[in-house]
Structures are given as structure tokens and as C-alpha cells.
Assembly symmetry: C2
Homo-oligomer: 288 residues x 2
């Protein structure tokens, strides 16, 4: 069953992150880093591990790459929750890092988690030197000013923009903010195997957008307790979302069509990619 | 003359950073990144380039590695200046990024500069895959929770500590906060050449500490106009510094002894390392 597989991979990824962080000094900075990498669905890490399985990549290397992208994702959440950014007090059902410690610790823990993600991608267990460099260069693009951070900057700018964003603008924003790291994750297995990542790239592009549309739907219809974070923020802020632009039914239909597209992109892999197909369906059915 | 050589390398490094950032979208995030990488002494970049020259490493690769460490240094300054950190309004004689834009842009521009630094270190021009990975792994350690960010966290924690730090504690703090990146820079040329970096490592350890003691001296005796930043902060905050612990004369004597130690460490390189010797003397004679 998909959720069992997801949980099993999540446990492997957590063990890897715990082992890496266990070697660090026992100070608030490192405690906050450990705290920030707890919990979550580990969707990005799962994509790495499942893509690696599809291509016969050894699990030890896949777990390290999966843990690296989860460290990167965790840093982005810590910074995104800061008062100057989204100003959130709750994440994954727990107080955010700047609430539990303070803003300085949150800035620094995020900074250190980003450095750690790159350091982990340089680990020999992941594969040949060329593979590791391809992952690192790709992560730099996916995480930085052409990917995730670009999307976050566009998102912050949208809050004070005179006009709500249009559908193409929101789509571009999300391709950066959540899409880039999801795509890196889905392609990583093929990259590690030195194989063609085109099919996984198509899958990830559709999946990433479906994921964000589902997030917007959850923001309106979800249960804050299950989601573990504050909901209804976007409507409150008068921000355009896929729901405000397409309506709730339109957004659901678009997400469903994207999941079909994601599943279809996996055609070349046959039944071997069933876990990734289930993952795509999970993304729009989840309650968190 | 040393300052001419420093300025010439600084211009080469700036051109590299400008070229890399010219390819990015024209949005506040990227404008802030460009702004943050302007100016400064480029001491870390100079160490990379001079170490590379000593080992016969081609300049094109050395400039890229030098620009990468300057991007990393620039990110650390942007985040260090944030209200929740050192809360500085002036840097290199200009308004800090969060003053000129806002805090969200400063957080994100810093985040993107860190990603960019790693992305640049993956560039093929720098050398073989193994060389680039060694630089990336070393940068992860130097920049993260075992290096620069650790030092920053200890520095922030010292502000609210019940007792001023002792000399060993301040020395450890600075070995992280400024020492780790200086050491990475000084060793990079040897790493790029696949040569032994021991001598450059000893040089850098002494240089880094001398640099910080000189900073503490400048904080007391310096001219804010020449320094381009607020001075007298540490005394104001009641923080222990090398000057408060050793006295002004004691701190000067210690810095001088460290410069002698740094110069002596370069013995194996003979006259070829004269620029690095001049650099060490510059570090304690500078007014900025």
C-alpha cells in the first residue's frame, strides 16, 4: 500500500538525517536543525528513492540524496515561516523554529541546513563524481534564484502587488516554489543511474503543479489539525490561488487532469512505476 | 604592490560574479543579490587566486572558485545584518539589503547566494570532478553548522550569555565565524592542484585569527567612514573581544605574532608566496 511504502522510506530518510546531525555539536543551532527535519510527508525523498529503485540504483546512495533534498526542503520551510516572510507559528503540528527558539536561530538553522544538503550530495555513497556533481549543479539551479527561492520571492511580491496574479503567473511562481525541488527529486534516480530523465521530468512537472493545486484546495477545505499548519491564509490575504482563479470544482478537475498526465508520462516504465502513479493520486487525495 | 594586486583580482572576481548574475531574471531578488556582491576587499577571493597561482592552476578556474567564496561571504553578511541578527543599517558604506529592500528580500537574496556559491563550485572550468567535489564538500563543512554558521550562532548566543566569553571561547567562535571560510579559501589553490594543503592551512589558521583580532582593534580605533560600517558595537553591547580580553597593546602584539606565524608557515613556497605574506601584513594594517 502506498502510504506504508511512503512511511517506510520516510523512516529510512529520517534515520539518515539523524545520523548526519548526530555528529554535530549539542547547541541550540543544531537542536533547531534536528527539530526542523522531523516529520513531514517526505514526498520529495520518496520520489528520489522510488526513481532510484526504478533504475536499479543502490538504496544507500538513494537515501543520502533523499535526505539531502529533505534537508533543503526543511530549510526552505524554516525561512518561509519567519515573521518577515509568511509569519507562521505552526508547522507540521508543532511550533515553528523561530517560535520555539528565536528568529536568529531560525535564520541560522535554515542557512546551515542548506549547506548540509549540498555537503550530503557530495558524499561518495551517492555515486560517481560525475553523478554527484550533476545532482549538486541541478540542486543549485532548483533551490536558488532560478527555482525555489525565485518562486518564494514572486510569492512574497504577490502579497503587495496591485493586481492579483493571473493563472500563467501563478503557474510560473509554483513551478519555482514547489515545482523545482519536486522535479529535481523525481529526476534524481535517473541521474544517479546515468539514464535519460525525460519521462520522470514530465511526470514531475505535472505532479508538482497538481501538488500545488491540491495545496490551494486544502487551504480552503482542509482541517488545520490534520494539515498541521494554519489554513485559509491565502483567501485572508486576498491572494490569487488556483481555487480563486479556477473555482473549487475547476481546480479539482485541473488537478485530476494533471495526475492523469503524470501517470501517462510514466508509460515507458510500465508496472514498475506503479508506486509513482499511486504517489500522484495520493498528492491530490491527501489531507495534509 | 599588494593593494594593486588585490584590486586587480577583485576586479576579475567582480566580472565573474556580474557575468553569472547577468543571466538571472530582472527582479528585486536578483537586484539585491547583485547589490550584495558589490565591493568589499575580496580577501577570500584573493587567497583563492594567489593559492592557485602558487600551484600553477589556470586563472579561469581560480576566478570561478574565488567568486563562489565571495558569493558565500556576501550571503553571510546579508543575513548577519538582519534585524534579528546584528541589526546593521550600513555595510561597505551602503545601506544593508534589508534597509534598501526589505527583510524578506534580504533573507531570500542570502539564501539564493548560498545556492549560487555551490552551483558555481560545480562548474567544469574549476577542474576535475574530484577537485570540484573536494571544494564543495569542504565548503559545506566550512560554511555550515561546523564552521561559519556555528561561529555566527555562538556569536549571537554570546550577546545574551550571563558571562562574557573567555579567550579560548572567542578563539573557537572566530575559528568558525571568519576562520573557516578564510581557511577554505587559502587551501583551495592546493586542492585545485591536487597538492598538499598543509602549509596553506597553517597560514590560514594564523591569518584568520589575526584578521579577527584586527577587526576587534578596528572596532575600537577605526573610522566608520573608512570601514563603511558601524563601529564600537561590541563595547556598546558589553561583549568580550580580543581587545577587552588582551587590552589594545596586547591585541596588537598578538596579531603581529600571528602574522609572523602566518608568514613562517609559507616557508616551503619561498619567494613565490610573497603576495600571501604581504596579504598577512595588510590584514593587520588595513583601515577597513
Amino acid at each position: 500500500m502506498f502510504v506504508t511504502a511512503l512511511a517506510a522510506d520516510a523512516a529510512r530518510i529520517q534515520a539518515c538525517l539523524d545520523a548526519v546531525l548526530a555528529r554535530r555539536a549539542e547547541i541550540p543551532l543544531v537542536q533547531a536543525m534536528r527539530y526542523a527535519v522531523q516529520g513531514g510527508k517526505r514526498l520529495r525523498g520518496f520520489l528520489v528513492m522510488e526513481g532510484a529503485r526504478l533504475h536499479g540504483v543502490p538504496e544507500a546512495g538513494a537515501v543520502m540524496a533523499a535526505a539531502a533534498v529533505e534537508a533543503m526542503h526543511a530549510y526552505s520551510l524554516v525561512h518561509d515561516d519567519l515573521p518577515a516572510m509568511d509569519d507562521d507559528a505552526l508547522r507540521r503540528g508543532q511550533p515553528t523554529v523561530h517560535v520555539k527558539w528565536d528568529e536568529a536561530v531560525a535564520v541560522l538553522a535554515g542557512d546551515a541546513l542548506q549547506a548540509l544538503a549540498f555537503e550530503m550530495l557530495a558524499e561518495p555513497v551517492i555515486g560517481t563524481a560525475d553523478v554527484r556533481l550533476a545532482l549538486i549543479a541541478g540542486m543549485g539551479r532548483a533551490a536558488g534564484a532560478e527555482g525555489m527561492v525565485l518562486g518564494q520571492a514572486l510569492d512574497i511580491a504577490a502579497e503587495t502587488a496591485p493586481m492579483p496574479l493571473t493563472l500563467p503567473e501563478i503557474t510560473a511562481l509554483q513551478a519555482g516554489k514547489t515545482g523545482a525541488l519536486i522535479r529535481w527529486s523525481a529526476e534524481a534516480g535517473a541521474v544517479m543511474a546515468g539514464a535519460d530523465a525525460t519521462a520522470l521530468g514530465h511526470y514531475a512537472a505535472a505532479l508538482g503543479l497538481a501538488f500545488q493545486i491540491a495545496d490551494d484546495i486544502l487551504d480552503v477545505t482542509g482541517d488545520a489539525g490534520k494539515a498541521g499548519k494554519r489554513l485559509g491564509k491565502d483567501a485572508e490575504a486576498g491572494k490569487a490561488t488556483f481555487v480563486s482563479l479556477l473555482g473549487l470544482d475547476g481546480a479539482r478537475a485541473r488537478a485530476k487532469a494533471l495526475v492523469d498526465e503524470a501517470e501517462a508520462a510514466l508509460g515507458p516504465y510500465g508496472a514498475g512505476a506503479d508506486a509513482l502513479r499511486q504517489c500522484a493520486r495520493f498528492v491530490i487525495a491527501r489531507e495534509m
